[in-house]
């Protein structure tokens, strides 16, 4: 009975490998990688960080065996009660979020844990933590810095994505997750794993709200932030804009936008 189940699992995994193309088969850097996604969702009054940790087979095994109180090789649901939140709490001090240079306290909103099957049906580990830091800015523009030092020495995919709602964001960052939150890694022969460990951007709390904000305005809550949508257009246009004044930043935006459209019209 046990062998048949195992055989079925193996066949299913093999099938999945063929159907979902090579990207879904394994981790980009092999079976001891620890992969990170940090999605910063910036709102007018808070930053919510969706932090996903994807551990390949070996680190997953090490975690599971530390959970496995009755030593049967499986982390049963009663054995992993409270594990995800405890694990998120150990990740928390490794995340450094600063607002105008001052450290901001993050707190855990919620967490989940899954053990998706990896190579040969062995478990991998997928931990999701949602952290939140309240914002209260006096000035109209503030510098936000974020650094992810969790498992800094272990190789793996490290991704930081920034999105905003009801705010302007200026800086050099990605606003979409090319790994789809560590679910599909691109062809690893021609794409090196991302190694984004920190990000810096300016948050502009203009009294004149950006147009897009109205439609997606979402009160701060505990809903998972996908980080998959680009909610604000200018993010991708301006690369490495230097702060300090709002006016100059906006001028750059307008100029670039103008240039872009004039070039599109007369190729």
């Amino acid at each position: 009975m046990k062998t048949t189940t195992r055989a079925i699992v193996i066949i299913l995994v093999l099938l999945a490998m063929h159907v979902v193309a090579p990207s879904a088969a394994a981790h980009p850097l092999g079976n001891f990688t620890i992969n990170h996604h940090a999605g910063l969702d910036v709102r007018r009054d808070a930053i919510v960080i969706t932090y996903v940790l994807d551990m390949a087979e070996i680190p997953a095994f090490q975690q599971i065996s530390s959970l496995d109180a009755n030593r049967d090789g499986v982390a049963e649901s009663d054995e992993r009660v409270g594990y995800d939140s405890a694990k998120c709490e150990t990740i928390l001090p490794k995340l450094d979020l600063r607002f105008d240079g001052n450290p901001v306290r993050l707190s855990l909103l919620w967490s989940t844990i899954e053990f998706p099957p990896g190579v040969g049906g062995l478990s991998t580990l997928r931990l999701t933590c949602s952290f939140r830091a309240p914002l209260s800015s006096q000035s109209e523009i503030a510098r936000v810095e974020f650094k992810n030092d969790a498992y800094a020495e272990r190789i793996g995919w490290r991704e930081i994505v920034v999105t905003g709602e009801g705010v302007w964001l200026l800086g050099d960052f990605a606003s979409t997750s090319i790994s789809e939150l560590l679910r599909t890694y691109p062809d690893n022969l021609l794409t090196s794993p991302l190694d984004q460990r920190e990000v810096t951007f300016d948050l502009v709390l203009s009294s004149a709200e950006p147009t897009q904000s109205a439609q997606t305005a979402n009160p701060d809550n505990a809903l998972p932030s996908g980080g998959l949508e680009t909610s604000i257009v200018p993010i991708e246009v301006v690369r490495s804009a230097i702060p300090p004044a709002l006016v100059s930043s906006l001028l750059v935006l307008i100029t670039l936008g103008g240039l872009y459209y004039s070039r599109r019209r007369n190729p």
Binding site: N31, F61, Q62, E153, I155, L189
Partner: protein, 471 residues
């Protein structure tokens, strides 16, 4: 067209030049001679091991002594971009393959070997039998422990491209790993006659080590490290030479010198996983167990390699932390079952781990026996002998052990295994001799096993004393 002709014709008229033609010819000749002399001199200095200084004091080596080269990952990104522009660019594919190979070596990430192979196979699909691609592919086969595949490929390509000495090196390495010691010696000798390099000296050092000449091995390795420094190799490469030097010191029982070498390696290439683990090994031998644990924990955080995990487990066990020890041992077992590549590369590590920790003894024997079918080197025989011993098959163990000792290698572990096998056979005279030899070569050869060796020796001594008292 006319313009070009005119351009060529002008200097010939002689009017443009301030020198008479005879003088110019002499000047040209002189310059030529000067360039030739200089290039010969440089070549002599570079190749002549006589002129480069052997590295005797690694403790003085500083990071600034070496140039900064971009890491493999920078190169990888560069060629990836080129390939996105032109997927048929076989040169970029070959270079990408070589860089992945380099990355696998410096990071210990064996998945990079798979990427190297994929890139090289794609290059060879575009240009079949491209020598540089095939040579790199042979290196990948060697690195992934497909020694026979590496040997056949390298030999085939070398026959058509006899000028490629890198293939000759791969041939020699594969022969050595397969236990074809005489053939390997011949390949290396042919290399010596053709080109000297730090890597060749390191190969000769390894050969001397196997042949039971530790002093010569050390001398060669110091020269290799000195030449590597002189040739201004990349930091990670220099660190590798230092680690090899440290291993030779360690195996000869010179623990403090080994520690210095490992520290030097970490100074120029911090966070080098091999350096951290080896320094941990040296610290444990010096009795600084807590520090050793820290170092192994760092190494394992970078890469959970079976031998590191096993050593860390042993350290926990010594410090009375059995649960943590068990967790490391379980991870080792898990890695052994993970996938085909892991099984091939860590095969011997796994067999030794099982035999040393009294776990899965049947499997230890099976692993060792299976590997020996294709790879008949002395350490293959040693692994088999040790697995047989642990399974209580002392007679067969002795047979295999004699093969393992056939080169006269001065390795304490080999003598320890032989000693324990003789204990099993009830030959306490031979057992005593072998165990004494092991401890005199390196009394710190292994954290747990060297204790067993000492205790066993004491036991034999006590029995002997009791025996003579009774007489």
């Amino acid at each position: 067209m006319q313009g070009r002709l005119k351009f060529h014709a002008e200097p010939r008229s002689g009017q443009a030049s301030p020198f008479p033609s005879g003088f110019r010819v002499a000047l040209l000749l002189l310059t030529g001679v000067a360039i030739l002399t200089a290039s010969h001199l440089i070549a002599y200095i570079r190749s002549g091991s006589e002129s480069s200084v052997p590295l005797t004091d690694p403790s003085r080596l500083q990071p600034s002594d070496l140039a900064d080269f971009p890491s493999a990952s920078v190169g990888i990104r560069f060629f990836q971009e080129r390939l996105k522009q032109n997927p048929e660019d076989f040169l970029s594919l070959t270079l990408l393959g070589q860089l992945y190979l380099q990355q696998a070596r410096t990071t210990g990430d064996i998945a990079s070997y798979g990427r190297a192979e994929a890139a090289l196979l794609r290059a060879l699909e575009i240009v079949p039998r491209y020598p540089a691609g095939e040579a790199a592919l042979a290196s990948v086969r060697y690195a992934t422990h497909d020694f026979i595949g590496a040997l056949y490929l390298a030999q085939a390509v070398y026959q058509v491209n006899p000028r490629r000495t890198d293939l000759l090196a791969t041939i020699g390495d594969a022969q050595l790993s397969l236990g074809q010691y005489e053939r390997a010696a011949a390949s290396y000798q042919e290399l010596v006659a053709r080109a000297s390099s730090p890597s060749l000296l390191a190969r000769l050092a390894h050969q001397a080590e196997l042949n039971g000449k530790p002093d010569e091995a050390l001398k060669l390795m110091r020269r290799a490290a000195g030449e590597a420094l002189f040739n201004n190799v990349a930091r990670e490469e220099m660190a590798w030479y230092l680690i090899r030097l440290g291993d030779l010191h360690f195996n000869a029982g010179q623990i403090d010198s080994a520690e210095e070498d490992y520290q030097a390696a970490l100074r120029i290439y911090p966070d080098y996983y091999l350096g951290l683990a080896d320094l941990g090994k040296a610290r444990a031998a010096q009795g600084r167990v807590e520090n050793a644990i820290q170092l192994y924990e760092q190494a394992v955080a970078i890469i959970p390699q079976p031998d590191f995990l096993a050593a860390l487990g042993d350290l926990y066990a010594i410090m009375g932390r059995p649960e943590e020890a068990e967790r490391q041992y379980e991870t080792v077992e898990f890695i052994g079952t993970l996938d085909a590549l892991n099984q091939v590369i860590y095969n011997r590590q796994m067999a030794m781990f099982y035999a040393n920790h009294d776990r899965n003894l049947d499997e230890a024997l099976e692993l060792a026996a299976r590997e020996l079918e294709v790879r008949k080197d002395i350490y293959g025989y040693d692994a088999l002998a040790w697995a047989l011993y642990q399974n209580g098959r002392y007679q067969e163990a002795e047979e295999a052990m004699l093969q393992a000792l056939s080169l006269g290698t001065r390795d304490a572990m080999l003598y320890y295994h032989a000693g324990m096998i003789y204990v099993g056979l009830g030959d306490s005279l031979r057992a005593q001799a072998m165990l004494n030899e092991a401890l005199s070569i390196n009394s710190h050869f292994d954290l747990l096993q060297s204790r067993v060796a000492r205790e066993t020796l004491d036991g034999i001594g006590a029995t002997a004393a009791l025996g003579s008292a009774n007489d």
